[in-house]
């Protein structure tokens, strides 16, 4: 296992392939692709987000939550992973943690000026309350 830098075209090819596999619910195959992508481009948040989704797909929620959390260090600020983690915590019934995480996600979205994600978080917060 080696973490190396690859040309963005290769990373994009991996992401496109993994995304397609994930859409086909081939979670194990998709996970192989996204792990390769995570090694090739660890700062790309999409790899961690998608890898977490693969684990969610087979019911490994705690591993997924750990991967989303890890993304905040490896691919900071990892706003989407923060939102995904908040949703997961809510699904796990850890409502207080979920709420805190949603709030943090909202702050990050505002900092980044990402109106679309602010709207997404607001929608989630309304659903949670």
């Amino acid at each position: 296992v080696i973490a190396v830098d690859h040309p963005s075209s290769s990373v994009e090819a991996l992401y496109a392939t993994g995304h397609w596999l994930l859409g086909a619910e081939r979670f194990a195959d998709a996970a192989i692709v996204f792990r390769t992508m995570a090694l090739a481009a660890p700062t790309d948040e999409r790899a961690w987000l998608a890898l977490g989704a693969c684990h969610e797909g087979i019911g490994q929620l705690k591993i997924a939550a750990s991967l989303y959390e890890l993304a905040s260090a490896a691919a900071a600020p990892a706003l989407r992973c923060t939102i995904a983690r908040a949703r997961l915590l809510r699904a796990l019934g850890r409502d207080d943690e979920a709420l805190d995480t949603f709030e943090r996600a909202r702050e990050l979205a505002l900092e980044q000026g990402d109106d679309a994600l602010v709207a997404v978080v607001d929608h989630d917060l309304r659903a949670a309350s």
Partner: protein, 268 residues
């Protein structure tokens, strides 16, 4: 990253239109942006395969030279901490394990990566992910319980802290072959140590808590088995290289299928 959608109420709908199983928490996949390029860049994947192979050869040579010394130092540090922890006779098995794991992870991160812990972080995360699938799609690592999850989480947090104080997530990623394998080997050491601690704690609390201690011991055994399985999966460089090539070949084959479908054919 572009496309996002508010969480769907019942199922996670992908930008491309796919719908995932209900096992996915609502809306997670809707966070995944659509790919910037269509599936089908076979040339890029072949380039990736070629580069990976070349990088492996280059990194392997460098990694082997420092590997044994780094392992020796890390193991020594770990054993010292293990001895200290055993003497503390902690009544909290997982608390002790977390401490041991954190110390060992920090030591290994420092020793093996010479200050750049990004590859370790990535390696640990990928190993955990791979371990999940090694264990099986239904027999997930989650069965190990909340305590183990915290332990793993703490290990990650330590790595993250080392990372954030170090060269940064993006820097120093190249040319660090073998580091993840080192991490896994250290993980095995940690698991072995954990079992030792577990045994010590078991003995210490044997009078009143035999059942609890046995359960913990079984959990540690499961962790060790899982870690060892991951190591055997990754340790043999030649086989691992073959598997990587196989994985990339699989990707290429998938892309071929996708192109075929896109061209109007039917999936085999």
């Amino acid at each position: 990253m572009t496309a996002v959608a508010p969480a769907a109420a019942t199922a996670a709908v992908m930008p491309g239109g796919g719908v995932l199983a209900s096992g996915i928490s609502p809306g997670v996949v809707s966070l995944l942006p659509a790919p910037e390029q269509p599936v089908g860049s076979i040339e890029s994947l072949y380039a990736l395969m070629e580069q990976t192979s070349a990088q492996q050869q280059k990194d392997g040579k460098v990694a082997v030279e420092g590997k044994f010394e780094a392992k020796r130092v890390a193991l020594q540090k770990f054993q010292e901490e293990l001895k200290k922890a055993s003497e503390e006779k902690s009544s909290n098995v997982f608390g002790t394990l977390a401490k041991i794991g954190a110390v060992a992870a920090a030591a290994v991160a420092t020793v093996c990566t010479l200050g750049s812990a990004a590859p370790l972080l990535v390696g640990v995360a990928v190993a955990i992910s791979a371990g999940g699938f090694v264990v099986g799609e239904t027999k997930c690592l989650d069965f190990m319980g909340e305590g183990v999850s915290k332990w793993v989480g703490l290990g990650m947090a330590v790595c993250g802290t080392v990372l954030s104080c170090g060269a940064g997530a993006g820097a120093g990623v190249s040319g660090s072959g073998g580091t993840a394998v080192d991490a896994l080997q250290s993980g095995s050491t940690i698991a072995s140590g954990c079992q030792t601690v577990d045994s010590a704690v078991h003995q210490h609390r044997a009078d009143g808590h035999q059942i609890e201690a046995k359960a913990a011991q079984h959990q540690m055994q499961r962790i060790q088995d899982a870690v060892e399985e991951i190591i055997s999966e990754l340790q043999d460089g030649k086989e691992a290289s073959g598997r990587r090539s196989e994985a990339v070949n699989k990707i290429v084959e998938t892309e071929g299928q996708t192109l075929f479908i896109a061209a109007g054919g039917q999936r085999s």
